[in-house]
């Protein structure tokens, strides 16, 4: 069951080959069997899952089922789930049993999906390796000595190891795409405003975006249809119709213009990864696409600009954690200042605290213009680069990450080198564009991801391009040895 696509699982459910309850039990058993090693889940919710599966089975029997009714899903622990701990990977929220559902969670439930549990992630979604989780790091299913990427590392590892057929992630600077690349799965970061952020615990509001992570573009398209859409509760969500992403997957790529940014293939990129991406480009040529060299001249500024903007927003977003209404509260505060400083120092991990401090500094008087405003101007330069490029080409192709999954602990003590592992993904968040990571080969038995970036709200085009590639390649079908059974 765990190697089947969502479409296959869905038709099996409809044909009564197995019930949603059986399917759910199958995945719960796999979590039971494998997750002690992987640590991809923070919370597993078997009782709730089985109850949802039973409801789904009733719907399937009555004939009121939707495409994903009865399909299990894992939610990143950044999404608030009513009655279930929603920790965001942080000690700060270890005690937070959300009183409400995030919009994305409510939509999955309305679609009849069955939540298996909440996946592990870096503390407050800040990290690129999952080593910043309060609940311990997640292991990469392809090599247990390596990181799964972050911050949606739990979702990526769980999908790759077949502990869930599909999962959600969130992406502020690459947190869906980079772990998707490291774990050999397919992940989509939608256009900013396409998926509601309501109930998604905020990291950096102008960059955060939730999206689907699955085994193939086809699977991702199905969940994307469920997650996407306007929400009155999120002022930054966009009120335009959601297309049927599955309907255009088989469109021909003949005449598709693919741009290759010359800046992405320069120094810093592992030559073996470059070779994978070039091979993928050739596959696209065979599919009828044309290749064009393009330039994103300000791309090298995306990491520094991001490390002004994201910390600035997070420093403010995380001020609500004060030990009063929710979250961690220190023991016996001697006064109000002590309550604040100790609750926050104990509740947040080191990386979160570093970013809060950097952001506080960026916004403080005397530095605001030099850093925050400057970074927002450079953000526009970066977005303009994309605007120009996407006027010439339909899709931009490049690597998702400069390397394959690195070893646990390798970059843990050097924040800056960790930041640079998101060098290809960050610019997309600054511009607010949609982008995917799609499996494109292996280097030394470790998956390589290619990144496809499209124009605003062109998710359907990206999914189409990814799906066509997956019709002529099988990288996405590979399953790590240890988790095949």
């Amino acid at each position: 069951m765990h190697t089947q696509s969502l479409t296959e699982l869905s038709s099996a459910l409809k044909n009564k080959e197995f019930s949603s309850k059986e399917l759910t039990q199958h995945y719960l058993a796999r979590i039971e069997k494998y997750d002690a090693v992987l640590n991809s889940f923070i919370t597993v919710t078997p009782e709730q899952a089985l109850a949802q599966a039973e409801r789904a089975d009733q719907l399937l029997a009555k004939g009121g089922a939707q495409p994903l009714t009865g399909i299990p899903i894992a939610q990143k622990d950044i999404f608030c789930t009513k009655g279930v701990r929603s920790s965001a990977g942080s000690r700060m929220l270890d005690n937070f049993v959300s009183p409400y559902d995030a919009t994305a969670v409510a939509k999955a439930e309305q679609a009849g999906m069955v939540m298996l549990g909440k996946t592990n992630m870096d503390d407050m979604a800040m990290g690129s390796s999952n080593e910043n989780s309060y609940y311990g790091c997640v292991k990469n299913p392809w090599d247990l000595a390596r990181v799964p990427g972050g911050s949606s590392g739990g979702s990526a590892a769980a999908v790759a190891a077949g502990l869930t057929p599909i999962a959600t992630g969130t992406d502020t600077g690459g947190s869906i795409r980079q772990p998707s690349a490291f774990c050999g799965i397919t992940g989509l970061k939608p256009t900013y405003g396409r998926v509601s952020r309501y109930g998604m615990i905020a990291f950096a509001s102008s960059l955060d975006q939730g999206g689907p992570m699955g085994r193939s573009a086809e699977d991702v398209a199905l969940l994307m249809k469920v997650m996407a859409g306007f929400d009155v509760m999120d002022s930054t969500s966009t009120d335009i119709p959601v297309p049927d992403y599955s309907a255009t997957l088989n469109d021909s790529l003949a005449g598709l213009k693919i741009g290759l940014p010359k800046e992405y293939f320069s120094e810093g990129l592992d030559p073996a990864i470059a070779a994978c991406i070039e091979a993928a480009a050739k596959e696209y040529e065979k599919l009828g696409a044309t290749l064009h060299e393009i330039s994103l001249p300000n791309s090298h500024l995306s990491v520094p600009a991001y490390y002004v903007i994201a910390p600035a927003e997070c420093s403010s977003n995380l001020s609500r954690y004060d030990g009063i209404r929710f979250g961690h509260r220190c023991e016996n505060p001697k006064d109000l200042l002590d309550l604040y400083t100790r609750s926050r120092a104990e509740g947040f991990g080191k990386e979160v605290k570093r970013r809060i401090m950097i952001g506080t500094y960026m916004l403080s008087s005397g530095y605001f213009d030099a850093y925050y405003l400057k970074a927002q101007k450079i953000r526009r330069l970066i977005a303009d680069d994309y605007r120009k490029a996407l006027a010439e080409v339909d899709v931009i192709l490049g690597p998702t990450a400069p390397s394959t999954a690195f070893k646990l602990g390798e970059k843990a003590s050097d924040p800056v080198s960790m930041y640079l592992s998101d060098i290809y993904t960050i610019a997309v968040n600054l511009a607010g564009l949609p982008a995917m990571s799609v499996p494109a080969g292996f280097v030394e038995q470790l998956p390589v991801g290619m990144q496809l970036t499209g124009n605003y709200f062109a998710e359907a085009k990206l999914l189409n391009a990814a799906h066509q590639y997956q019709q002529v390649t099988d990288w996405h079908k590979r399953v790590p040895e240890q988790f095949r059974e």
Partner: protein, 96 residues
């Protein structure tokens, strides 16, 4: 960035720094990050409009309707400390 600056920022952000080792580590890490950020200063951004939002949209307005009912018991069930008469409790706020 100096240890004094780090202390000042930590206070502004209401984060306790508990030991000298911790302070030294933050000072080192934050200085490295600042070094990365300093690259921005060399860029000429004359005439460029800042971009606080990825999309060029404007604020939607909500009708003035009461849509929320009293849920204080549920909402206070996640409070990390006792409430009294449905008030959250904090160490005495000294009226300045």
């Amino acid at each position: 960035m100096s240890p004094e600056e780090v202390k000042k920022i930590a206070h502004l952000a209401r984060l306790a720094i508990l030991s000298e080792e911790e302070l030294a580590a933050y000072t080192r890490n934050l200085s490295d990050i600042m070094h990365l950020i300093e690259q921005l200063k060399a860029v000429d951004t004359t005439g460029v409009e800042p971009m606080p939002h990825p999309l060029d949209a404007t604020q939607r307005l909500r009708p003035d309707e009461i849509t929320e009912s009293d849920q204080h018991q549920l909402l206070q069930s996640v409070a990390p400390f006792a409430t009294v008469e449905s008030l959250y409790l904090v160490p005495q706020v000294i009226e300045e």
